[in-house]
């Protein structure tokens, strides 16, 4: 949690302190809560550092706005290339074809995770041929699903297995043929043998964060959930949408919707179930396939999406498992629902968003090389990241979400690193200051005039936290420190190192003092500084103790089980 960062990192060590950050959003759900929890300030104006915008805003405003270099926004300009049902399929098909053309048949064959799809009305004739072929080839009637493009939450979706069933739809379309607003649909072959649990159909919602398309940088969230329908699955009864659609928005309207559990399992529970039923290997394979499916989906649009350093995007993948545990991609959502229906759900989403914000790193405290941040694991940076061979995991998806421990650990190590760089820069600043002093003395001696020395001192010794100043100092240091030995005894050096909080100018004065007296004068502030230093040491030790054990040593199975209990008991408590 970001609170660990606030706890461990000193205010002056932040490149960009959280109290200076401003957010803007029109959402009033978990998003607002997650922003507030980071103690960022809300703004109505254009002075935001991060904006969680609705998709429409991106389309209407983003193209006409110039963003400041520090501003971040939660969508890519043309995200619809991936998140609109028809374009997604079109891009996948095109990418697959390109791969085939390049002779990469094997990789092309991996693009088999979406059902046979046609765009209507434009591809109606091909669809009709296919429909006839399918119905004559198989004894049972193949079912097809019609989805309106650009509508969400299951609106307008219907299933049919007779061509007459869409004739009504077709007629209205024909009638409106000249009407450019005629609603476009896609028609997909319905996956008729979904995996059923408790006799119910379900799909999975999995979160993927993309921070860049060049290089493709993807973080996968360990926790997601399985959403169940409330009625027993019946492949014959195609008119009952409750049976077939898992969208919470649809299931909420069902009579026996269970408010307490929201008809959901978290991914850990689902994995536990699958492992018990099918064994570890099969499930590990399935979850790895899901991860690869997600990476491949983004690779397919990597060259199409306009990369922008201001943009990041949190995708909600909807994935269905069939009875053979093969994953199918149903849809990618650019703005997955951040409204919660249970307290557990609320915490999950707030935690998820908090981790997104940590990765975006507006405070500029991270290195960018972290492999895990909170519940997110880096799965792709340019190329898919492969886990060590001896690791029992093929993917961390659905593994125990250790975000609290991990954030604590990462906050500690970050605090230490920042404190060290801060100290170094301070020390060097003093060195420059001292060097300036020496120059001054020399110049005084030689020319009996003071000119640039003090200015250098001032520049170097202001102890400002701003990053540009830091870099300035560094460059000066690089130029100067090599030849000139630092003034002051070792003792003095130690003293300096114990003064991380001290204004460099002050330090320099003290330095001068101690130098001129050439004695070990005790610093009045030393006690407090010592304790600060001890604190730091303690922190270092603690972080060593708490060093995270590599996952391979833990049994994946136990991990998953551990999580399950916690969540269940939590739920019990909340009741």
């Amino acid at each position: 949690m970001s609170e660990y960062f606030r706890k461990y990192i000193k205010k002056e060590h932040y490149a960009n302190h959280y109290s200076n950050l401003k957010f803007k959003t029109s959402f009033r759900n978990c998003i607002l809560e997650a922003f507030k929890r980071r103690l960022w300030k809300e703004t109505e104006g254009d002075d935001w550092d991060i904006m969680w915008a609705e998709k429409e805003w991106i389309h209407e405003v983003l193209d006409h706005t110039h963003l400041q270099s520090n501003q971040k926004i939660n969508h890519f300009r043309n995200h619809y290339e991936l998140t609109r049902k028809d374009l997604m399929i079109k891009n996948f098909k095109r990418y697959k074809k390109n791969l085939e053309r390049e002779g990469k048949q094997e990789e092309a064959n991996n693009y088999n995770f979406f059902p046979l799809t046609f765009h209507l009305p434009s591809e109606y004739p091909i669809f009709f041929e296919e429909f006839k072929r399918q119905s004559t080839n198989s004894d049972t009637k193949t079912a097809w699903i019609m989805k309106p493009i650009g509508k969400s939450q299951g609106k307008g979706i219907f299933i049919f297995n007779k061509i007459q069933q869409i004739s009504q739809w077709k007629n209205t379309l024909r009638y409106n043929q000249d009407n450019p607003q005629a609603e476009a649909y896609i028609v997909q072959k319905y996956i008729a043998d979904p995996l059923l649990i408790g006799g119910k159909k379900f799909d999975m919602r999995i979160y993927l964060l993309c921070t860049s398309y060049q290089p493709l940088t993807l973080y996968l969230y360990r926790t997601g959930f399985a959403r169940f329908t409330h009625h027993r699955y019946d492949s014959e009864d195609i008119s009952n949408t409750y049976v077939h659609l898992t969208n919470v928005a649809i299931q909420k309207t069902s009579d026996n919707y269970d408010e307490k559990l929201g008809g959901k399992w978290n991914l850990q529970t689902l994995k536990l179930y699958l492992m018990t039923k099918y064994g570890q290997e099969k499930v590990a394979e399935t979850f790895y396939n899901i991860q690869m499916l997600m990476i491949r989906s983004l690779q397919a649009v990597q060259k199409i999406i306009i990369n922008d350093k201001h943009c990041f995007e949190l995708y909600g993948f909807d994935i269905l498992l069939d009875a053979q545990l093969k994953p199918w991609l149903l849809e990618v959502n650019a703005s997955p629902s951040m409204t919660s229906n249970t307290p557990v759900d609320f915490e999950l989403k707030c935690g998820l968003l908090d981790d997104v914000f940590t990765i975006i790193d507006l405070e500029k405290v991270l290195t960018g090389n972290e492999e895990q941040i909170g519940g997110f694991d880096l799965i792709c940076k340019g190329n898919p990241i492969k886990l060590p061979i001896n690791s029992t995991f093929t993917t961390y998806l659905g593994a125990f979400n250790n975000r609290q421990q991990q954030l604590k650990k990462i906050a500690k190590s970050t605090a230490i690193r920042l404190a060290q760089t801060y100290q170094e820069s301070q020390t060097k600043a003093i060195e420059i200051g001292s060097k300036g002093q020496k120059e001054k003395e020399e110049k005084d001696k030689q020319m009996r005039s003071s000119s640039k020395g003090p200015q250098v001192m001032q520049n170097g010794g202001n102890g400002n936290n701003k990053p540009n100043n830091l870099t300035k100092q560094n460059t000066i240091i690089k130029r100067n420190t090599t030849n000139l030995p630092a003034l002051g005894t070792v003792q003095n050096k130690n003293n300096i190192k114990r003064q991380p909080l001290q204004n460099a100018g002050q330090q320099q004065q003290q330095n001068q003092q101690s130098q001129s007296n050439s004695s070990k004068k005790n610093n009045p502030n030393e006690d407090s500084m010592l304790s600060a230093n001890q604190k730091l040491q303690k922190l270092t030790q603690e972080s060593k103790i708490n060093q995270f054990q590599p996952y391979k040593q833990q049994s994946q199975y136990n991990e998953v089980m551990g999580m399950g209990v916690v969540s269940r008991n939590l739920q019990k408590n909340e009741e």
Binding site: L195, L196, I197, G198, G199, K200, F228, R232, D258, K260, L261, W265, T269, L272, Y273, M275, T276, K277, Y278, G279, Q280, K282, S555, Y557, M561, G562, G564, V565, V566, S567, R568, N569, L570, Q571, K572, N573, E575
Partner: protein, 466 residues
């Protein structure tokens, strides 16, 4: 008991895969020889353990042909009379429940979700009455020094022997993939009870458990039979019974458990079929209630011969993690109940009965952790009251499904419920330090209402901690 003649044994032998394997082996052994004498075969069989295998196979067939009869009468007379009393008590409870439901029908707003005929606390309270009865009538001259809740003179296994029996669980290591694959193959090819029990005792890989259970219960080639049987019962469910309502209420609790809410509907269907299943009466190993015929039709025992009780759904729930087919879940549940769980609700001196298990637990805790035992006694929260829920419901709801299934494995592996004694002792030991600090019942309740996570292996280890 019915006896098989030689011809029948041979017929049954021929239906076993192992028989043909042995025959093939013998044939291979005498590949080139034209004339084979009986003596040659005997010698050969002895030399390569074929004889042993055959003996095992035949004894297995004989054992299977023996039908276990339902225990109706107990060796100890006063338990028989107690059972009648228990049944009468339950009939009274049934009357009350019946009245309540009628009232509810009139007043929709006041729905009591706690409608049940009896729960584990009622059962324990009833068992507790035994002590007084016995000391009043049979053992008037004997001074009972012990603080135990239950102190009845029934034949008991020594608690040390139980501890010794399960001690091997402490030494279990994580198996390599190679070994796990070997076990998988073994489960696929094995048919003998003893061998399957051995596997269940040590380790059952996930994904193979269902097959092992089905084989052990001899359901492995009966899919269609099970399906038809279940379909028939489902048809019967169309006629509403009064007990259906109780089962529906019972299902609500399971619907609040994250792990099982998805299966609520399946569990209810299974139970509705269960109380209509005529074959249970013949298959169940012990009669739970002594049937008294009452005149009113609605006040009669279900066809099963016993009342559904509170949380009966819990026994079905973990089995939903084994198969997606409901008729398989039902068949497994039925067999588990008829073979094992029925003893948890029986007034009997059998070694698996709730009475024996409770006494074993008290015995172990009072000898190995006397301080805890007496402390609990003093604060008015007896040992048994603490663990009765876990004991009667096999820790279902307290542990994650895979751990529960490990308990089921052990039950099959040893054909006994004694593993529950070990786990209950471990459970108490785990919270021993906290319990010793508790000053009253509320403190104790607080300890168990806190977030906790119990695991099979962990509790076993605690059980052996001194």
């Amino acid at each position: 008991m019915q006896q098989l003649d030689n011809q029948e044994i041979l017929m049954k032998l021929k239906s076993q895969k192992q028989f043909w394997d042995i025959k093939k082996k013998i044939k291979q052994g005498f590949n080139d020889q034209q004339k084979i004498g009986v003596n040659d075969i005997q010698k050969f069989a002895q030399s390569c353990e074929i004889e042993d295998q055959l003996i095992k196979l035949i004894s297995h067939i004989l054992k299977k042909s023996k039908k276990r009869e339902t225990l109706k009468e107990d060796q100890i007379e006063f338990l028989n009379t107690s059972k009648i009393k228990w049944t009468e008590l339950l009939f009274k409870n049934l009357d009350i429940v019946h009245q309540k439901t009628k009232n509810q029908e009139e007043d929709d707003t006041n729905t009591d979700s706690k409608l049940y005929i009896y729960d584990e606390k009622n059962l324990l309270a009833f068992l507790q009455t035994f002590k007084q009865q016995q000391s009043n009538t049979l053992y008037q001259n004997v001074q009972f020094q012990s603080n135990k809740i239950l102190n009845i003179n029934i034949p008991l296994k020594s608690s040390q022997s139980i501890l010794d029996k399960y001690q091997y669980l402490l030494l279990q290591e994580e198996l390599s993939d190679e070994k796990i694959n070997k076990i998988r193959k073994q489960i696929e090819n094995e048919h003998l009870d003893i061998e399957l029990e051995k596997i269940a005792q040590t380790f059952v890989p996930n994904g193979e458990r269902c097959l092992l259970y089905l084989k052990y219960f001899e359901f492995d080639h009966q899919d269609t039979v099970l399906q038809q049987h279940f379909a028939k019962l489902q048809k019967e469910c169309l006629n509403q019974l009064f007990y259906d309502e109780l089962l529906e209420i019972d299902g609500h609790e399971i619907s609040e458990d994250t792990f099982y809410f998805v299966f609520q509907e399946q569990i209810l269907t299974c139970l509705k079929c269960f109380i209509r299943d005529r074959t249970i009466k013949e298959n169940i190993r012990i009669q739970l209630q002594s049937g008294i015929k009452k005149e009113h039709a609605e006040f009669q025992l279900p066809i099963t011969g016993f009342f559904p009780f509170k949380n009966i759904s819990k026994y079905v729930a973990p089995l939903c993690y084994l198969s997606t087919k409901i008729h398989i879940i039902y068949a497994l549940f039925k067999e588990f109940f008829c073979r094992y769980f029925c003893f948890l609700h029986s007034i009997s001196s059998e070694s698996n009965s709730i009475l024996s298990l409770c006494m074993q637990i008290e015995e172990i805790v009072s000898t190995r952790s006397p301080k805890l035992f007496h402390h609990l006694k003093i604060i008015g929260c007896d040992t048994l009251k603490l663990i009765i829920h876990q004991l009667v419901y096999c820790f279902i709801g307290d542990m994650d499904p895979p751990h529960i299934l490990t308990i089921y494995d052990q039950i099959i592996g040893h054909d006994s419920l004694e593993i529950l004694v070990i786990l209950c002792v471990g459970f108490l030991n785990k919270y021993k330090s906290k319990l010793l600090l508790a000053k009253n019942q509320e403190n104790v309740q607080q300890i168990f209402s806190e977030l906790r996570e119990d695991r099979f292996q962990e509790l076993v280890q605690y059980a052996y901690k001194q």
